[in-house]
């Protein structure tokens, strides 16, 4: 069965410090990997994706993510967190053979304290 795991319900980090939000997946084949962010009462905003190529992908708002095939992980990172980064972050995968369907993780709430 396809699944996406975000092991941390919540991540707390001080402003200016680096942040990591973890994601691992169990999907057949070579999936496409995504990160989305959800601000309160807002929709899902695309941050970045990995399709192929360089394992480190850069996205919006200074975020980046590292694909690790052997560990089936796609952790989201940012070198220096901002208070405005506080939001709910979702990891998602789409199987290579089915563009129709995303499998989402349960979400990680990121709290950045001043």
């Amino acid at each position: 069965a396809q699944s996406v795991a975000q092991p941390e319900d919540q991540v707390n980090v001080a402003e200016g410090n680096p942040l990591t939000v973890k994601c691992t997946y169990s999907v057949s084949g070579n999936p496409y990997l995504f990160w989305y962010v959800q601000y309160p009462n807002r929709g899902l905003q695309f941050l970045l994706k990995y399709i192929t190529g360089d394992n480190l992908v850069k996205g919006s708002y200074g975020f980046e993510a590292e694909f690790n095939k052997s560990q089936t992980s796609f952790h989201l990172k940012k070198p220096s967190a901002l208070v405005s980064d506080s939001a709910l972050y979702f990891c998602a995968v789409r199987p290579h053979e089915n563009f129709n369907k995303f499998y989402f993780g349960s979400g990680t709430k990121l709290n950045v304290k001043p």
């Binding site: 496409y32 989305y36 009462n41 807002r42 929709g43 899902l44 905003q45 695309f46 994706k49 399709i51 979702f90 998602a92 089915n98 563009f99 129709n100 369907k101 995303f102 499998y103 989402f104 993780g105 349960s106 979400g107």
Partner: protein, 112 residues
């Protein structure tokens, strides 16, 4: 930048009532989707729609649910007889290509 628009942003309905959630996908997109997020849980796939028919649906999408593209611009999700457990945020999405998936801002449905 083009957006997927959903209306209303919040809908309250009584149990057993029919509700229609509306979405306007991006105009040149051909594939349309509904996803659901029950409060505190993960976002789940409901249904995909292409060429005026359902291409895939999840086990959640039972006979109480239906989708329609009535006029070439709107894409609607109808729940025939709402239950308390239908309370959730419903996201519409559309795509044009393999990667160009865009989500709307969601409709929060509250069934009382």
């Amino acid at each position: 930048e083009p957006e997927v628009t959903q209306t209303p942003s919040h809908q309250v309905t009584q149990m057993g009532q029919e509700v229609i959630l509306r979405c306007v996908p991006i105009s040149n997109h051909l594939y349309f989707y509904w996803y659901r997020q029950i409060l505190g849980q993960k976002v789940e796939f409901l249904v995909s729609f292409y060429n005026n028919e359902i291409s895939e649906k999840s086990e959640i999408f039972d006979d109480q649910f239906s989708v329609e593209r009535p006029d070439g611009s709107n894409f609607t999700l109808k729940i025939r007889s709402t239950k308390l457990e239908d309370s959730a945020m419903y996201f519409c999405a559309s795509r044009d290509s393999r990667y160009g998936y865009t989500f709307g801002s969601g409709t929060r449905l509250t069934v009382v």
